[in-house]
Amino acid sequence: MAEILLRPKGSIGIMVEAEVISPNIFAGKNKAEIEGLLVWQGPVQLPLGEFFDVDVRSAAGLPERARPEETSILIEGDISRVKRIGQGMKAGWIEIHGCAGMHLGAEMAGGSILVQGNAGSWAGMGMLGGLLHIAGSAGDHIGSAYRGSWRGMTGGTIQIDGNARSQLGGGLVGGKIVVAGNVENFCGIRQSGGLILVKGSAVRGTGAEMNGGTIAVCGAIKQFTPGFVETGREENPKLGDVQLEGWYAKFTGDYALGKNPKGSLYCREG
């Protein structure tokens, strides 16, 4: 087991692109090696040690021997100006005591990330697997596809205890996103698979251009998407491994996209 502690040295000006902060890259490296990893800040590459104090602790044996799944990264402080943390990680653990910047856990395939504060936009973009838990609120495009792409997250779980903004789960193909609070516009746009559960309310465009998968909204949808048709009502529906309680109206859509869309939208009644 190896535990790496990162503490920001001070406030960060131009945002830093730190996809090197990942158990896959930290695994088997000592303090000096981690400090020497290069990150982009604007047009220049600088060592990670410029921005963070690094402390490596090893529970048993040498940290050099730790594999990614035995590597935990603990970040203490506000890193809302540090982007791409945990990008593409395949195993291990990242815990952030503070707020995280954009692209947190983008394209991660395994392992876990826990943010105690808020996360910026694009967290979990194109995620393949693993768990991303945001205890605060999150920005736009959480668990969505990259701009222009219609294939987003394909697996794994994103859990948001607060609210998320627009385009949550855009182009979702698989996996699960659960939002305890509210979402804004175009939640599940172009969704073709997977599950989005919003325990609060949504504003508009929910499931727009959806062609598969499931969205459930427990609160209200302020402006309902016009291309959806009611197909019945269900009591206590079970969506994958998620058990809902109460009566839900079930809709199919989005007929704006094609003649035979396969998307399901559940809305809690009254």
Partner: protein, 591 residues
Amino acid sequence: MSATIIRNGCVFDPLNGINGDVLDIFIRDGKVVSSLTGAEQRDATIIDAGGKTVMPGGVDSHSHVAGAKVNAGRLMRPEDHYKSVRTKTGITHGGSGYTVPSVYKQGYDYAAMGYTTVFEAAMPPLEARHTHEEMRSTPILDMGAYMVFGNNWFVMRYLKEGDIEKAAAYVAWMMRTHKAYGIKCVNPAGVENWGWAKNVRGLDEPNIHFEVTPRELIRGLAKVNEMLGLPMSLHLHANNLGHPGNWEIARDSLMITSGIVPKNKSELEWAETKESARRRQSVYLAHAQFSAYGGTSWRDFCSGAPELAGYINQVDDVVIDSGCVPFGPATTMTGDGPAQHDLYMLTGQKWSNTDVELECGSGVLSLTYLKSSPVHSVQWAIGLEVMLLIDDPWKTIMTTDHPNGGIFTQYPQLITWLMSKKARDDTARECHKWAYDKSSLGGVDREMSLYEMAIVTRANPARTIGMAYRKGHLGIGADGDVTVYDIDPGKLNLNDTTALTARLARPDYTVKDGRIVARQGEIVAVPEGRRYYCRPYVGDALEKEMLSDVKDWFKYYTVGFANYPVPDKYLKNPVAIPVNKPLEAEAMVRR
């Protein structure tokens, strides 16, 4: 005075009949020479090519690398740029894009792969400025662009009236005005119908309003081409492209030009070659793969390549480029608006469409070719069939119709498939079974040699488009464009397909005008390329008569007549090729 010597390489130079002979290549001031003086040799840059393959610099005669539709592809596909990035160096710009790279990245990527000359295959007249702007910003490469004429109002009107002289006068004026190199004809008569949400389905189906048929347009433009005596022949994108069963219309289209005698009336100094460097063909069919489909629908879709190749094997006046499909992401872009719409209806992918006023149209769509797809697997097979079933390599050119069938950076993979049956069999096993079941590729044993590869990637593209007066070979007086591959022809192992592809993708050296521009994939010098265009002439009286027609209809344009031409400043290092010089043209009076 600068000199370069490429020593002891195994040289493949088909236009000079050199097949792997160990030779020294001498270059002085950018041109190939027979020898250098002792003093020149002492100061020369020397490349040791012992045990390596030396070819003329690569020539791509059909690629989409500049202009409005290419840029539309860039704009509508941010996801294409996200992961394909080239960081800047001390001498190069940064760039991004996989299927539609930025102009800088295109130039570097082509040069790093051993190519030095690339021609843009479709320039709408109204987008000529944009096309030249992008070519001006493309580093290293020598370039030119073919202008789209197959649905041009003036061409359709003159050919319907049977006034071929005026059509020739119009084409000549347009090529000078917009600095175009050749005549491209895209879905003749059909794209005009697309303005009314229709297409044409047969060669003798007149289109709306102009009531001109594809046959009249193909024959007319091919005749205009030879009346003017352009360096390249008519470049044809056949009707019904991309539809099952279209091989017949492709063959019938190629028959239309038979009997038309190729005449190159350009006034140029020709570098020395052993074989004739002048084109034989009167029609050059674009991306044959997309026009070699059998069956009647996508359900019984199959290859029509054996039938199309059967015809081409019988005639000597046709050259094709393949438009191969090497799998993976692509961005289809063509002046064939209706074909792109059909593809959109089929795939539901992102699609953009443009109507270019009195001239043509265009469509762009994002697409990924999958080995798991039955249709895509057959397309892969057809692309290789058209190269391998046409016996004479001097009738074929290897392309992907970048970025329609695939990306130009996939050429090394394509070459490997053409050179190795094992490579084809390996890929067929990963594909949908239709790849071999619905084509004849599985039964094709032919493996192209390095000599044949030099024909289909260098000598023939250059000869077909009339650039062999200086490109595509290493005869005395040719441009000093050379590619040195780390491939020992004596020890060529066609079973190690991965290594072969890797060596073709990263030549040891790319030399442009005698200067090393790329070394093992790294760009080491960034010279500015040349821009070629033709300046054909007809008689003054005829031109005047034609221009009064043009001015009369210019009221339908959204631009003013004075703003229509592309000014010289849009071209960097322009090379104007005089064709059918005014004196000679005086003879070409009306009837």
